[in-house]
Symmetry: C2
Subunit: 223 residues, 2 copies
């Protein structure tokens, strides 16, 4: 096999493509080293695309945008749309695996294919393939602000209007160690914010409270 | 300025080099976006070099080896040997900073210069510069096993000989919150291991105990 439909590249060395499709469940000779290489070139090519496209975003925004493109979830969707599941070679135990496990295998295989293309054809052909596959994802990325966590967005909203930072305080912590439940209050007195949020960790409860505060702010501005 | 002595590249666009040398302390137009880009190309070029050079290492080893090359500490040493401190442009507050702060500024500036070279000259010239600067570091890397943390190495040593995993137990925890002192015992009964380690966190005390166990094992094999 020299090609995978949907990936615009023809391998000179068919063994490299075969290796890229070999999950570690089939044995010692597998695609994990290629995945290491492919992950690195993917990160760089996506970084360069974002750098050129998002001229108004700072390095923090660029990092968050990149993470959205290269995360396993996104790569698994791309791999699924390329039907990589039809080509990946799995050992006995993995053949039946579904769900998350399967998605992660597909995402890793896509990275390994990028690594194999780099070794087979060099940087530029590999860059073109990655751009071909990832540019639609990059084009569909949300505004960088939307990728910030709620606490950060609330803080920036308050600071932008000259308000002091909000206070988060723990109202309650209940439940056994493996099933805790936290309730946190978020207060921004000057901005008229006093809301509560709940979650399975203090951090999650704080983010939930910040989300509610942001929804409250958005609701006010619509009135 | 078109060149920095020790960095074998001549800039076509001198403003790109000037931007790469502009620390954020001098204002809004600074090198942080270039650092984002340079960090990504550095990671990739080092990954590719390690992939080709270390054919016997698995992806975990390659990750640890790469981390040793691209970490701030290593980059700061490289930047210092290139005398980047003579060229970097800092704002008032940062001019006097020394030690860790200064090292981190120099490391970031080196990454920004890589990013600027990529934008100015494209991938291959940038790859050559990174290889020129980093290959001596890569050539001097230790054996991949030495980069594993002591607990991992002890575990692998025991497993390799059919022994069960070691047990770590906390013997004592003393001191006020900002100055804790932990003592941990590491026991590998079947392998004749019973040692203690101390540190400012439980994790560090465990690693210290594992280090002592490894030293004991090494001492035995010399007899």
């Amino acid at each position: 096999m020299r090609e995978i439909p949907g990936i615009p590249y023809t391998f000179k060395d068919t063994e490299l493509l075969a290796l890229a499709l070999s999950h570690r469940s089939i044995g010692q000779i597998n695609n994990e080293r290629l995945e290491f290489l492919g992950d690195a070139i993917l990160d760089f090519v996506v970084s360069a695309s974002l750098f050129k496209l998002r001229t108004d975003n700072d390095e923090g925004d660029l990092s968050r945008l990149r993470a959205r493109v290269v995360r396993g979830d996104t790569l698994a969707k791309l791999a699924t749309s390329l039907k990589l599941g039809d080509y990946v070679k799995l050992g006995g135990g993995e053949l039946k695996s579904g769900g998350f496990r399967r998605n992660s295998i597909l995402a890793d295989t896509l990275e390994a294919i990028f690594g194999a293309i780099y070794l087979d054809g060099g940087f530029e052909p590999c860059e073109k393939v990655i751009q071909h596959i990832c540019d639609p994802v990059i084009a569909g990325l949300p505004d960088a602000d939307e990728l910030k966590d709620p606490k950060t967005r609330l803080q920036e909203w308050l600071q932008g209007r000259g308000y002091p930072l909000p206070d988060y305080s723990l109202l309650s912590e209940n439940g056994p160690p493996h099933n805790k439940h936290f309730v946190v209050e978020c207060v921004g007195e000057a901005a008229g914010i006093r809301v509560t949020g709940a979650g399975e960790s203090r951090r999650k409860a704080e983010q939930a409270a910040a989300t509610i505060a942001l929804e409250m702010i958005a609701g006010r501005s619509k009135k």
